[in-house]
């Protein structure tokens, strides 16, 4: 193409527009659902969700405290999204991130509560456990050609039952409540800028760590040979193999790294002490929600940070609903709808391109012809 790429045609801009459109549409549909449930209070309902912790705007400390809580809770979500998008770039759908997260959860809680290790060792073991769980599904994929989605789903459930078995230990868990004890002080990740966030005790160096991981992933994908090979394998496996890239090694390495990040996510969540694990009948939703965040963030490591925060913001927004009229799960439903709408991103981009070429038709017929060829 002769002209410089127009602003609206840049892939990054289009992804951003598409994601924002999905979010806005999701919120609108959420409002319609509120209307259907209780028409007279729907307005204040949606306002409560959107206003969120800004409700405390007369008290900056409280507001910053809740901002901190939202940030802290969005960290594991963002990390899970990083794990998923990293694998997705290599053409692997790592639905097993949920299981790798669970493996990290087992490791971090076990090393911290049963063995009394210090935080960095616990975090490292969470990372390694996630990596190992990822290695399992990578191995099944590379050597036995088992579809990674199916292997991932199986390993998710195995990890869940392992968690329920291993953590049901008197040292780790209050058996009568089937809930783990609080993390000992030694195991808590060191604090980070806590005074700024209204002395939020859960604000830890997990926050900068998450951002570093996101930047690292961005750099690996865009600035290294390994990242290039990954993306090449994702675009066309056979061509990559023909070009001399080691497909098996790349598959395993990708899922191992992806798993390590998912494991780290669990460590960053449970080692702040913000939540206690309790015996569960279903795989932690974090890994699945990570899929959502990855797509909402346009499969971009930096975009995932904002998408993760936004999703957590909405989810937390459900807590501000007046329970006399609505239940907090409406926020979850909104999130689910936004994710569903992300499936239409391709179509939205197509519309954006189509509209633009229609404008060019009037200006310059020659350019349109070139564009037309490109689009087909």
């Amino acid at each position: 193409m002769k002209n410089k790429t127009g602003f609206m045609r840049r892939p990054g801009v289009q992804t951003l527009i598409a994601s924002i459109l999905c979010a806005v549409l999701g919120i609108v549909i959420g409002f319609l659902i509120l209307l259907a449930i209780n028409p007279s209070h729907a307005g204040e309902g949606i306002w409560a969700i959107l206003k969120n912790f800004f409700k405390y705007n007369n008290n900056t400390t409280t507001m910053l405290y809740y901002l901190g809580s939202t940030l802290v809770k969005s960290l594991p979500l963002i990390l899970c999204a990083e794990a998923i998008l990293f694998a997705y770039k290599a053409g692997l759908f790592n639905i097993g991130a949920a299981g790798q997260y669970t493996a990290g959860l087992i490791a971090s809680l076990y090393t911290s509560l049963a063995l009394g290790w210090s935080w960095w060792a616990c975090l490292l073991s969470a990372l390694l456990a996630g990596a190992f769980w990822g290695f399992l599904s990578g191995m099944f994929k590379a050597f036995f050609a088992v579809n990674e989605v199916i292997a991932g789903i199986m390993l998710n459930w195995i990890a869940l039952y392992l968690a329920n078995t291993i953590l049901a230990n008197e040292k780790i868990m209050d058996i009568s409540k089937s809930e783990t004890y609080g993390i000992p002080q030694k195991g808590i990740i060191p604090g980070f800028m806590q005074p700024v966030f209204g002395n939020n005790q859960y604000m830890t160096i997990a926050l900068p760590l998450t951002i570093i991981v996101a930047i690292l992933i961005y750099l690996i994908l865009n600035r290294t040979t390994f990242g290039y090979e990954l993306k090449a394998t994702g675009y066309n496996k056979d061509a990559a193999k023909y070009a001399g890239m080691n497909a098996k090694r790349n598959i395993i390495l990708t899922i191992v790294i992806s798993g390590a990040i998912a494991g780290l996510a669990a460590g960053c969540h449970y080692l702040t002490g913000i939540e206690h694990y309790s015996i569960s009948a279903s795989v932690p939703a974090m890994g699945f929600n990570g899929i959502a965040v990855a797509f909402l963030g346009g499969l971009n490591p930096i975009g995932a940070i904002f998408a993760g925060f936004f999703i957590e913001y909405l989810t937390m927004g459900g807590q501000y609903l007046d329970t006399r009229y609505f239940n907090p799960q409406i926020a979850d439903l909104m999130v689910a709808i936004i994710i569903y709408l992300c499936g239409f991103v391709l179509f939205i981009k197509y519309l954006l391109n189509k509209k633009k070429s229609a404008v060019i038709v009037n200006a310059n017929a020659q350019t349109t012809q070139d564009d037309g060829k490109e689009e087909q």
Binding site: I37, F144, I150, L155, W157, A292, G343
Partner: protein
């Protein structure tokens, strides 16, 4: 022992129906990861019908209406997947995951609103209690308590198998999952066949959902969804190599393990073994992973599954 047989039959009928649903969808070229969400909505609709029907409704009416509602709800849910994946070429794994999330959150919201309205704002729980409706479904052969659902599942299995192997329509559907361009070139409407596949999966998935929640229990908390039954059915489908008769017996194997985890406490020699309950829970997954490892090299997955059909592509 009777309890074990009873549970195995129940789980097997759920898994057979849902796995067959997944099979039809994938054979037409659409990966249906949203089976879990389809099951939840099917279960919810069926349970609501059981709750709302007056106590003196004849059994046969309860049975028919409940199943119709479940199947219809399942089909409507599957349309979410069909529209996005077929018309808008969306990523099928993403859409499936989203439908699962919509299933759990949506059913929770709807059931809570339903309960709140029904109780004039005193009951906010996400659970439905359908003990009366559930009784309509059971019958006895000797000491063995059976369920009409099992009969329905067997009938549908036979129908599905005959349809799958003996009809022109199914042959066309399968062609769309293997090589849609070739199918299109001989005048088959690929979009229509894929809609058919996904809708069948919605029908069977919705039925599977109501069986799952009502065959053994009489209350259900919808915030749990269906606790992974949809994913288990996907495993059964792959284990069954996308073929109805193989799906049937792999469903029975999976169901046996699942039933063992529920009832092993009641069987003396199993209880005496030094194996914890969670091991039985894990077994179906471990076994299927190992078996998949040995069978996947010559897997018979539909070739075009997961790839949106683009008429212009060559």
């Amino acid at each position: 022992m009777l309890l074990l047989i009873q549970y195995t039959l129940i789980f097997a009928s759920v898994l057979i129906l849902v796995a067959l649903g997944g099979m039809f969808s994938e054979r037409s070229g659409i990966i249906n990861l949203g089976l879990e969400g389809i099951m939840v909505f099917g279960a919810m609709a069926g349970a609501m019908v059981m709750v709302l029907l007056p106590d003196n409704t004849p059994k046969i009416v309860v049975i028919v209406l409940t199943m119709l509602a479940a199947a219809a709800a399942g089909m409507i849910t599957s349309l979410f997947i069909a529209v996005a994946a077929i018309n808008f070429k969306a990523d099928q794994t993403l859409v499936g995951t989203a439908v699962n999330m919509i299933g759990v959150a949506g059913a929770t919201v709807i059931v809570k609103a339903f309960n709140t309205n029904r109780s004039n704002g005193t009951d906010f729980s996400p659970k439905l209690d359908y003990v009366k409706g559930q009784e309509a479904f059971s019958f006895h052969i000797g000491d063995l308590r059976l369920n009409w659902f099992i009969v329905v599942a067997i009938v549908l299995l036979v129908v599905a198998t005959v349809y799958f192997y003996k009809t022109k329509s199914a042959l066309r559907l399968r062609a769309c999952g293997e090589h849609p361009q070739a199918a299109d070139s001989v005048g088959i409407n690929v979009y229509k066949m894929r809609y058919l596949g996904v809708l069948i999966s919605g029908f069977l998935g919705g039925l599977g959902g109501i069986i799952y929640i009502s065959a053994a229990t009489s209350t259900w908390h919808f915030d749990y969804g269906v606790a992974g039954a949809g994913f288990l059915a996907l495993a059964v489908m792959i284990f069954g190599q996308w073929k109805p008769e193989r799906i049937a017996w792999s469903a029975v194997i999976f169901a046996l393990f699942k039933a063992l985890s529920s009832v092993y406490m009641g069987i003396d020699f199993l209880k005496a073994l030094p194996i914890s309950g969670t091991v039985y829970n894990m077994l179906p997954y471990i076994v299927s992973l190992i078996v998949l490892a040995f069978t996947s090299k010559n897997s018979r997955a539909p070739k075009a599954e997961g790839i949106p059909y683009d008429k212009g592509a060559r």
